[in-house]
């Protein structure tokens, strides 16, 4: 073949790829992971990476006959960077996106990925906007939304008969939105809000707020705080015995990972749990066993949710039997995951939110081989309580 023949063949091949980009991808199923891999949320992103990769391994590392390949990018918990990284991954032809950690990053990525029609699976970000006012046709959340967490906290307050509540709410958009929603739910169960404080994100000293709380007659203290802020609050409040006087609870404020940083001062702290390794079913036991075997530690909430969401989506892709992102999106929007680590999850076509049961836990002293601080599941809430029917 002369030079003109080769050029014509190359041009024809290139044209074919442009006309059907999916053809170029069928040698591998490419997952674009956009998570925080540095900074305060880096530890969460790392857990998500481990969970998602294990989900691929659990099915032999293939889907639709192609090997599953992950490409991870660090969003640095910055929405702008998340969009840049997601756009670059989509430019490389990833078949799906997975992430992000913070709701701000997820909301930003949803917009650009919807335009490209690339499925986005969310397994951690909790903002109600993701499956509410900003819902996108390509985006699905398999983990807990804020409303679900708030319903569980209100149920907890009702069941524990906490009449007066003091709120400590990190001063950022999602935190304030969450608190605004929770206030109404607490009112509905007859709880009175004694006072509320809005410390800035990244606070390093909560002694004065803790002192104010101790001087009130509140029965419970609700924490709407994340990561390091929650740890700092719990360490400092534990040092003056706040948890011995009032019930401390919150959304994702305590689990084994947080307990490692708070130490023995964790005991007695209550928290919503997205996932827990102690959930008693066959699927979860098998997952925990393989996770411990691979990584040497028990899976945390981020890892469990990541595994669950990724395994579910890959199952659906396999069931479609076709290499077509729109077919995967359509199939996933009405799918049911009967093999969820948490029982059964049902994807709601109306808002792309997985309806599921929920759990609440209390930190206790763990016995080997469990960590020193281990969560004991104290309450379980059924899906019907947590997810009212779609309008």
């Amino acid at each position: 073949m002369n030079i003109f023949g080769k050029a014509a063949l190359f041009a024809a091949g290139a044209a074919a790829l442009v006309a059907n980009p999916a053809l170029a991808d069928e040698d591998a199923f490419r997952v674009g992971g956009i998570v925080s891999l540095s900074g305060a949320y880096g530890v969460i992103g790392e857990s998500m990476r481990k969970g998602a990769e294990l989900a691929a391994e659990a099915r032999g590392g293939t889907v639709l006959g192609a090997p599953i390949v992950f490409e991870w990018e660090d969003t640095e918990t910055n929405p702008q960077i998340a969009v840049q990284k997601a756009s670059a991954l989509m430019g490389k032809g990833v078949d799906m996106l997975f992430g992000a950690v913070s709701s701000g990053s997820t909301l930003a990525v949803m917009k650009v990925s919807e335009r490209r029609g690339v499925p986005l699976i969310v397994t951690l970000s909790a903002s109600d906007r993701i499956t509410g006012e900003d819902m996108a046709s390509n985006t699905f959340r398999t983990s807990n939304p804020v409303r679900m967490e708030n319903t569980m906290m209100a149920e907890f307050v009702g069941r524990e008969k906490l009449g007066k509540i003091y709120a400590v709410v990190a001063d950022y958009g999602v935190g304030r939105d969450m608190w605004d929603d929770l206030k109404g739910r607490l009112d509905a169960v007859g709880a009175e809000i004694v006072a509320e404080d809005y410390p800035p994100l990244g606070g390093r000293d909560y002694a004065l707020i803790i002192d104010k709380i101790k001087k009130t007659d509140a029965d419970g203290v609700v924490m709407i705080m994340t990561g390091g802020d929650a740890i700092t609050f719990l360490k400092q409040s534990g040092q003056v015995g706040l948890k011995d006087e009032k019930q401390i609870f919150g959304t994702m404020v305590m689990d084994e990972m947080m307990g490692e940083a708070v130490g023995d001062l964790s005991f007695g702290v209550n928290s919503t749990l997205r996932y827990h390794f102690a959930i008693d079913n066959e699927v979860n036991r098998a997952f925990v066993e393989s996770y411990v075997a691979k990584y040497g530690v028990y899976p945390d909430q981020a890892a469990g949710e990541a595994y669950d969401g990724m395994a579910w989506f890959l199952d659906v892709v396999e069931e479609t039997g076709v290499w077509d992102q729109q077919a995967w999106i359509k199939a996933f929007s009405t799918s049911t995951n009967t093999k969820s680590l948490e029982g059964v999850k049902v994807m709601r076509a109306c808002d792309h939110q997985a309806a599921q049961s929920g759990i609440f836990g209390k930190a206790i002293k763990g016995e080997a081989p469990h960590p020193n601080v281990t969560m004991e599941i104290s309450y379980q809430f059924d899906s019907e309580t947590l997810f009212p029917a779609c309008d």
Partner: protein, 287 residues
Amino acid sequence: MTGTLIIGLSIAMMLFLLAAGLTIIFGMLGVINFAHGVLYMVGGFIAVEVVNQTGNFWLSLLVAPLAVAALSALLEILLLRPLYDRDHVEQLLMTFGIILVLDEVVRTVWGLGYHDIPLPGSLSGAIPVFDSDVAVYRLFLIGAGLIAGLGLFALIEWTKLGIVLRGAMTHPAMVRSLGIPVSTIRTIVFALGGGLAALAGTIAAPLIPIQVGMGFGIIVDCFIVVILGGLGNIRGAIAAALLLGLVRAFGQQYFPEWIELSTYLVLMIVLLWRPQGLFTFSKGRKA
């Protein structure tokens, strides 16, 4: 009221411990050390390691500052010494580079997770002070800050080493002519600043989670104290930390929503009105 005052003092002493090393390095070397926060973080991680290995918090208070002081000396000799005669921007960029490298080293060695130093038994619990319960550790923190402040002041103001340190910074040629190696003096100052950052990281460890990136959050507070106190002014740093700590303490009681805003407003006013700092009254001795 008294409880608030004591908590405010503890916040102030923590701020002072954080900022002391930074103000010494800037005041004496003229280097804006953005790596101060990362040295604080390294100090926290070394303290965690010492406590994990020995179970001795008190030992960590000694080992972490000394180890970071040695590391700082090495950094100064290898990376900063060649830059003293160049533009300040190059020194600034170098300290940024140090942040990136040390962050990555810590991440590789200790991972991204949270770490804890439990309180030693003798510093656990709380005592009632009028209408408040104050953690015993807060009282220790106030004492540690005062001792560090007085020690630094005494070192710089009243010792022969202090005279040499100050002389080397303001009149290096004169000090050199007396046979004293100025470059060694600079290394000592940078090591002292790094050691103080690590001391702050160790003392902070029982109050906060130790994690990669924890140094970024403190650097703004450090600069607020340094600017309010006057660059290189130890007395000024103590006074500024007290001012800031008490404003935050009483502000939390009476105007919690305005604390951050008012802090930055004061900072801007000081920069415009008294760029030399609130507590620097002459161009002479600063200690």
